[in-house]
Amino acid sequence: MKRLVTLSAAAIFAALLIDVLLDLPAAALDLRALLAEAMPASGVAHPVTAVLLNTRGYDTLLEIAVLLVALLGVVISSARTNLSSDPGRTPASHVAIDADPMVSALARLVTPLAVIFAIYVLWAGAHRPGGAFQAAAILAAALVLLHFARIVPACTAPSCRLRVAAVAGFAIFLVIAAIPLAGGALLQYPPAAAGLLILAIESGLTVSLALVLAGLFLLLADDAGGRQ
């Protein structure tokens, strides 16, 4: 019954919306023009990056906070599950198995490339597709691979150094966002320094985001087994 109601409701909704979308007149306002005017002052050549880190940089700042919150939530959960429910399960009860040589070889091969590629993507972000988040994602993937190759261990709770590294990018962003308050508005970079500042922010974010994204996985991975 419920299934029927929900599905039909979804179908009706979709049909209605599509119907009205088909004859939707052009938008009254077009931000592309505004953005085009703003580009020179934005400090970067790639419009998406300009929006992401300059005109709507404030969104990104909060977005990183969301990511950190998620990491915290994961830390809570993983910490819980480790010191939780079935007492019989101590980490020592895991059987150590050697890594699949293929995997580790692959990891050793890929990681440097990944790092280089990430740096390129980061740098490219200024004037063509790419940027901090993509670079970070690539690094994170490499980290996960290294983990599978058992070169990077999983951890239940991030050590202090890890926490610092994970927050560093956010902190840099925060500081750079706050400095302009002295004279002007939040995140209002002086046009001259804008490019540099954005690059600084992005580099910081790349490291931190990579750690956070990888952390989302590694923190969970540790007790992936042991559910028998």
Binding site: V48, A137, A141, P153, L216, G225
Partner: protein
């Protein structure tokens, strides 16, 4: 143009198919697989929408990281004996 439109239609159809499979296939493993495929198709869609940045991100995250996360969680939930990944930290 029409060729492009045809490609778009095909892509959209595949997208919907993958999405439905991800939600409805009885086997969870296949569902996750379908979801990863869905992520890749999304990346393709973003390319078609002249949004290479999103395509990159989607490929790296939507398909890559989320995929790994999901598969790992799936294995954990099935309560399989710990394999390499899970016991890694104790090998050194």
């Amino acid at each position: 143009m029409s060729a492009a439109l045809a490609f778009d239609l095909l892509l959209v159809a595949l997208l919907l198919l993958a999405a439905l499979r991800a939600m409805t296939t009885p086997r969870l493993g296949q569902a996750l697989l379908a979801f990863v495929v869905f992520g890749l198709l999304m990346a393709l869609a973003w390319v078609r929408l002249d949004a290479p940045d999103i395509a990159l991100a989607e490929a790296a995250v939507g398909a890559g990281l989320s995929g790994v996360l999901l598969f790992d969680a799936w294995r954990a939930l099935r309560g399989e004996p710990p394999d390499e990944a899970s016991t890694a930290e104790h090998t050194r």
